[in-house]
């Protein structure tokens, strides 16, 4: 007997018990839907994270100094150790295309055209290459030493009137003093440009470290001159020159992080750039090395490497949830097995008739097995559709690009078949074993 004939007969008997069949497959549907939904969301989340690493970001190395025991993402526990001098020496390395400092600067507010919006963490000082050309929607990178800024669309749209290239913005510093800045570029997205910022959209103003950060350090230096107390307060975290008598200058500015640009995204190039940069920074000649020690070490990683940690956590979580969902699959199989057993008992007489007119044991086995498998496949297909829909809705809701894990769809159908076979095997075997005489006598 051919599989197609089995399928036709199985479909017949499933169709004649619609409600029962539907309830039976529900367990499978829910199990598979849960797995597919979580896997879809997981894959989408990963793609969302990885997709944020633009190709020309892949050659950037992000470095900071922190206690090696500190857990967490980029900049966790970071201390400002890198001086302008250090950065320049790394920048001059042959294996390195460019190196510049990175420093978030606290502010009070941003003002445009007389309109003030409170803003505490929008200002980021970095080198011009930090604004990668591909991320600029309009205008150009800022230039070092100029009072220029690149803003993101979130800032541009924050005021009554849209800020555009060429406009002047006023930054109100933490201390209250104001500096103005000319907008020279607007980025294409409000998401962070590097793992340092995090990827979530938020208003950001990118400015050159010189003059914006060095200027601030000058200010602090001035403060130190006035009172001894200020120095104590600053503590270890605010490293001052060994020689306290001299006022702090731009040279003393210490950056929280360093961005090193390798010549290409090639793994060899990146490793070489990393090794050379670390060699310079950790050598006794660098200013940073004075502060490094057992509880302050430099970490230097690419965006991809940094995200890997996040992904590992995500994978773990996903496996856990998928594991729980798989339990519902087991429950679903038990449901199918149960209903098949009922069905075999109920159709004892039919089995007897079939055997009496020449059905072999394997025909009866195949018939009932097919029925269980068809139930399993229906459950798997409906579960997959439902799971993808839920995944789609979820991805849409948390605003990440949707990635369909196609291999899981194939896997789900395979699981459906497997569940059908496993749960149908015993009932089908019972059916096949039925003695035709007993079965025909069965009332």
């Amino acid at each position: 007997m051919r599989p197609l004939e089995f399928g036709r007969l199985a479909w017949r008997s499933i169709g004649s018990h619609r409600l029962r069949s539907a309830l039976t497959t529900l367990g499978i549907i829910i199990g598979i839907a849960a797995v597919i939904a979580f896997v879809t969301l997981g894959a989408s989340l990963q793609a969302g994270l990885l997709g944020d690493i633009s190709p020309d970001d892949q050659r950037n190395l992000y470095g900071w100094a922190a206690d090696p025991d500190t857990e967490g993402g980029p900049l966790a526990g970071a201390q400002p150790v890198f001086t302008q001098d250090d950065l320049e020496r790394v920048d001059e390395l042959e294996d390195v295309d460019a190196a510049y400092g990175y420093m978030p600067i606290s502010t009070q507010a941003l003002a445009y055209d007389g309109e003030l919006t409170p803003q505490s963490d929008a200002l980021i000082a970095a080198g011009p290459p930090y604004i990668r050309p591909a991320t600029i929607d309009e205008g150009r990178q800022f230039e070092m030493g100029e009072r220029e800024a690149v803003i993101n669309p979130a800032v541009a749209g924050q005021f009554e009137e849209n800020v555009s290239v060429g406009d002047e913005l006023t930054i109100v510093r933490q201390g209250g003093e104001q500096t103005s800045v000319t907008v020279v570029g607007i980025t294409d997205s409000s998401e962070g440009l590097s793992p340092f910022e995090g990827f979530e959209p938020s208003p950001r103003v990118y400015v050159p470290t010189d003059p914006y950060y060095t200027e601030e350090v000058d200010g602090i230096g001035a403060g130190f001159e006035d009172g001894e107390a200020a120095e104590d307060e600053a503590g270890e975290a605010e490293p001052a020159d060994d020689d306290n008598d001299e006022p702090a200058t731009a040279e003393d500015a210490r950056f929280l992080a360093i961005v090193v640009e390798a010549p290409s995204a090639d793994e060899g190039d990146i490793d070489q750039a990393r090794d050379s940069a670390l060699a310079v920074l950790e050598s006794g000649d660098s200013d940073a090395s004075e502060l490094l020690g057992d509880d302050l070490e430099i970490t230097m990683q690419t965006s991809t490497e940094l995200l890997q940690q996040l992904q590992d956590v995500l994978d773990l979580l996903q496996n856990f949830i998928v594991g729980i969902a798989a339990i519902s699959l087991v429950v679903g199989s038990i449901g199918i097995a149960n209903i098949m057993l009922v069905s075999v008992t109920e159709r004892t007489r039919e089995i007897g008739i079939m055997k009496a007119v020449g059905a072999q044991n394997r025909d009866v086995l195949g018939l009932f097995l097919t029925e269980a498998v068809v139930l399993g496949i229906i459950g798997a297909i409906l579960g997959t559709v439902l799971g993808l829909a839920v995944g789609y809705a979820g991805a849409w809701y948390i605003d990440i690009p949707l990635v369909y894990p196609y291999e899981y769809v194939a896997l789900a159908v395979a699981v459906g078949i497997l569940v059908g076979v496993l749960s149908g095997l015993y009932p089908a075997w019972r059916a096949a074993r039925t003695d035709p005489i007993d079965a025909l006598r069965y009332e």
């Binding site: 051919r2 079939m354 055997k355 072999q360 044991n361 005489i437 025909l440």
Partner: protein, 269 residues
């Protein structure tokens, strides 16, 4: 045509081990020639259905041998026995035994499904048989949409679908009115004329009288074999005369009553 032996039973015993052993068949010897038409009569519980099940390869004897179509059923494994009953034997059950969720056409085609015959071919054959039993206009009806007589005819068509050499019918006319019964019996005659070996269990004299000979069963044993050309063999000499008496009065009495009481009174007398 009727040269060989279609069915041969030797010392066949079928015992059910209950609290006390029940001998459904108790040493039966019977030869059924190819192309013959045999009726089996006997009171309820005398072992008629048990005999049919053995000949139909649905069951195996406790003792003795059953040879069907030249093959010893006891020597066959389950698979071979299934093949034999699928191809050589056509069984018409007293209770129809149609598949409730299949149409008349599908029911008739079912045995061929298990022989691996294609759907188109199956349906053509089933249609042809349904036409022949007068159900050309009921092919797509479900069994529960058919009358008792129509169901019986569907069961008959199904029994014939694989061109069996032996047709077994266990009380085929039990549920039929006189007219439909006559139709079914006419069909039996037709098959018999075409060379099929017919074995029909009945309680009714006029049904049995269509056959060439009647095997009378009693308490699991052959009481006597009545050749309808007049002659008679009786393995039990004591019962011989009583049955002759039965035959004379067959038309006056309720035949069913006759069958049940006749041999019993014979045994008493």
């Amino acid at each position: 045509m009727a040269t060989g032996t279609a069915v041969s039973l030797k010392h066949v015993r079928k015992t059910y081990q209950l609290a006390e052993p029940v001998h459904a068949l108790d040493g039966v010897d019977l030869e059924i020639p190819e192309g013959s038409y045999t009726a089996i009569m006997g009171p309820s519980g005398s072992g008629k259905s048990t005999l049919m099940n053995l000949v139909g390869c649905l069951d195996t004897p406790t003792d003795g041998t059953v040879v069907v179509g030249g093959q010893d059923v006891g020597d066959l494994d389950d698979r071979e026995r299934t093949t034999l009953r699928g191809t050589t034997v056509g069984f018409v059950f007293q209770t129809f035994n149609l598949m409730p969720r299949l149409t008349a056409l599908e029911n008739v085609a079912l045995p061929q499904l298990f022989q691996g015959i294609s759907r188109g071919e199956r349906n053509d054959r089933a249609r042809e048989l349904l036409e022949r039993v007068g159900l050309g206009d009921r092919m797509d009806h479900m069994p529960n949409e058919l009358s008792g007589g129509q169901r019986q005819r569907v069961a008959l068509a199904r029994a014939l679908v694989n061109d069996p050499t032996i047709v077994l019918a266990d009380e085929p006319s039990g549920n039929l009115d006189t007219e439909t019964e006559a139709d079914v019996l006419d069909l039996f005659d037709e098959f018999h004329d075409a060379g099929t070996t017919m074995l029909v269990v009945t309680h009714e004299r006029h049904v049995a009288s269509r056959a060439e000979r009647i095997v009378h069963l009693l308490d699991g044993q052959i009481e006597r074999i009545e050749e309808l050309d007049g002659s008679e063999t009786s393995p039990r000499s004591s019962a011989g005369q009583t049955t002759g008496h039965d035959r004379d009065h067959g038309h006056d009495h309720d035949p069913d009553h006759d069958e049940r009481t006749g041999p019993a009174s014979g045994a008493n007398g």
